[in-house]
């Protein structure tokens, strides 16, 4: 086989493999979206229905707005309050993420420039994150109950902030390391104070990296389940907890409703991703590009 043919064959095989992989990866998402538009009769049918026929908004209206006529159906679930959960999730995830990125970048700056933590300490910091949450969640709930933090927003924000801080430090440090010292020193000798240098020079230069870090941590906190399950009861529920209520309840598996809720959980992340996509490409490829 001559070279150009071989190259062509390789390329065809590559496309086939990648296409198959894409189908496997995207099928669950497709299934979720499609199910969310299916009337209840098509949730379980065999052979499966790939395209809802006819498509309906019933699931969305029932789940998100609890509209009378839908709430009254046999699939209504008494405790549902997804809009409140959406608000809780938004506040808890964004606040804890912001705090983590803010404190993380300050610590990272100290580590990068002043070596306030040794290599070993930095790895220990990352090790904290390696502890499976299941190990700490039971003792933590005792602490929380003693401190009155159980089933409170502050409690969840605090634990999310603390558990994502190591990521924030590690990620932002790698971005700060990329900023040449000489650029900071140039600002300093031109009369800028340390704080001014950080705010006028360093932070704008690592903006894309901060945004990438923010999204990364936001995804983690937005979809966190175990800690939220144990540390909250009825006062503060987040969307992942809400989602679990549609499964295995006495009414059976309400796939359509669950899918409609799941789409609602996914969309906000996608919107955030779209808004900041310009930064993401730069942030995630930071340091891989030769300066």
């Amino acid at each position: 086989m001559i070279k150009s043919q071989r190259r062509r064959a390789t390329s065809i095989v590559r496309y086939i493999v990648l296409s198959l992989w894409a189908v496997i990866a995207f099928f669950p998402i497709y299934w979720m979206v499609s199910t969310s538009f299916k009337p209840d009769t098509q949730w379980f049918t065999w052979p499966p229905v790939y395209f809802p026929d006819p498509p309906t908004l019933d699931n969305y209206l029932n789940v998100w707005f609890g509209a009378e006529q839908y709430a009254a159906t046999q699939y209504s679930i008494s405790s549902q309050k997804p809009l409140i959960s959406l608000g809780n999730s938004a506040i808890i995830a964004s606040t804890s993420t912001l705090l983590a990125v803010l404190f993380g970048s300050v610590i990272a700056y100290g580590v990068s420039r002043y070596k306030i933590l040794s290599e070993v300490r930095m790895f220990q910091l990352l090790m904290l994150r390696m502890i499976p949450p299941i190990v700490i969640v039971a003792p933590l709930s005792l602490f929380y109950s003693a401190l009155g933090l159980l089933d409170s927003m502050v409690g969840l924000i605090l634990i999310y902030f603390l558990t994502s801080l190591p990521y924030a430090v590690w990620m932002t440090k790698s971005f700060i390391d990329e900023v040449p010292r000489e650029i900071e020193q140039a600002a300093e000798i031109l009369g800028a104070s340390r704080w001014r240098t950080v705010f006028e020079i360093v932070l704008p230069l690592i903006r894309s990296g901060l945004v990438a870090t923010f999204l990364f941590i936001l995804i983690l906190t937005w979809s966190e389940y175990l800690l939220a399950l144990i540390l909250t009861k009825t006062q503060v529920t987040t969307l992942p907890i809400e989602l679990s209520k549609y499964q295995g309840s006495t009414e059976g598996r309400v796939y359509g409703r669950q899918a409609a809720l799941a789409v609602g959980i996914t969309v906000p992340l996608m919107i955030v991703g779209l808004i900041i996509r310009k930064h993401l490409a730069r942030g995630f490829s930071f340091g891989m590009v030769r300066r």
């Binding site: 040449p180 000489e182 650029i183 020193q185 140039a186 600002a187 300093e188 000798i189 800028a192 104070s193």
Partner: protein, 362 residues
């Protein structure tokens, strides 16, 4: 006004002594060039003056005032970095303006000063551009302008031209010289390029392994190197250095090596017999077309440079023995030809086995 004194300055990084007991005074308005091979401590010295490195011991005084504990921004200095260190997210005008903003200069005044300085280094047309859109030479001019605008008492320049190509280097070298003449400020310039040092400096400080080897005007350094290292470092093509020995014979002091047997002038009379290295600059080697020369050597290579011609001879040493001759006539000499050479006696240098100069040279 800025007179900078370095007193017993030392800097160690762990067990490594980067700068050893350095004492030296830079006079107001002087253009001083620190030169030496990489790792000789020249940049560390500059960074200590700037305030980016704390001396391990010793003092730095600016106009008599000890500045060891002053922040870089409080020392009244300006610095141009090797990497130019422009702020990538600010355009050229904002880069230049930065120092003025930090000093709370009102905005109309800032705009005016930025324009003036930009004109001065001929980058008036670049003000709206981003640093990434500027060429290497342009970036360097922007870096200069950014420093100029704050009107510092002293300019610190850390290998500012090393990232540029040869033609631009010459151009910007002239620019630095012009600025120094015009501003009459103190300039401290660090480079590893001996040519830059020779052309720019009022005084050159030659450094090696953290120590000052020699201080002097470019001509002093060139004509009277204190040791083998300085002799070899300065000059292009570099000085011919031939290992051999001193022999006292019938009232004459002679230098002998496999290729050479030269009677040394009076001033070397007291030299003890033993191993030495003879040094002579290529321009002090005469091509004698008659027979009355010192040595006859075969030509290895002829390099016509236009005005001059470089002749490389085989002297039985690893490095060729070089002679510079004026005129193109010499370009017709071919490799392999044997040529008689005469050494200008007054320009001979001798170095002992430690590399130190032995008597003689003026």
């Amino acid at each position: 006004m800025a007179r900078i004194e370095l007193c017993n300055l030392e800097k160690s990084f762990g067990a490594v002594k980067a700068v050893k007991d350095l004492s030296f005074t830079i006079e107001d308005g002087e253009f001083v060039v620190f030169v030496g091979p990489s790792g000789c401590g020249k940049t560390t010295t500059l960074r200590m003056i700037a305030g980016f490195e704390d001396p391990t011991s010793g003092e730095i005084r600016i106009d008599g005032r000890v500045v060891n504990d002053l922040e870089p921004r409080d020392r009244g200095l300006g610095m141009v970095f090797q990497s130019h260190a422009l702020f990538p997210h600010k355009n050229v005008a904002q880069n230049i303006e930065f120092g003025l903003r930090m000093k709370n200069v009102p905005s109309e005044e800032r705009v005016k000063r930025v324009r003036e300085v930009a004109e001065m280094v001929r980058i008036g047309h670049l003000l709206e551009k981003m640093p990434s859109q500027c060429s290497g030479g342009e970036s360097q001019r922007v870096a200069l302008a950014r420093t100029l605008v704050t009107n510092p008492s002293t300019f610190l320049l850390d290998e500012p031209l090393s990232s540029l190509d040869a033609k631009l280097r010459r151009e910007l070298r002239a620019e630095c010289d012009r600025l120094h003449q015009a501003l009459k400020r103190t300039f401290i310039y660090v480079t590893h390029d001996q040519e830059e040092a020779m052309t720019l400096a009022d005084r050159i400080v030659v450094m090696r392994s953290g120590e000052i080897v020699q201080i002097g005007s470019p001509m002093e350094i060139y004509s009277n190197p204190v040791n083998y290292f300085v002799a070899d470092f300065f000059g292009s093509p570099s000085m011919n250095l031939v290992a051999g020995e001193i022999v006292q014979e019938s009232a004459a002091t002679r230098f002998r090596s496999p290729a050479f047997d030269v009677v040394l002038p009076e001033n070397f009379k007291a030299t003890k017999p033993g191993a030495v290295t003879l040094g002579i600059r290529p321009e002090h080697v005469g091509v004698a077309l008659g027979d009355n020369g010192d040595v006859e050597l075969p030509v290895r290579l002829v390099e016509p440079l236009g005005k001059d011609t470089l002749l490389y001879f085989d002297a039985g040493t690893e490095r060729a023995f070089i002679a510079v001759t004026e005129g193109l006539g010499m370009a017709e000499i071919t490799a392999g030809e044997r040529i008689t050479l005469s050494l200008d006696r007054r320009r001979i240098h001798l170095f002992d086995t430690e590399g130190r100069r032995i008597g003689g040279a003026r």
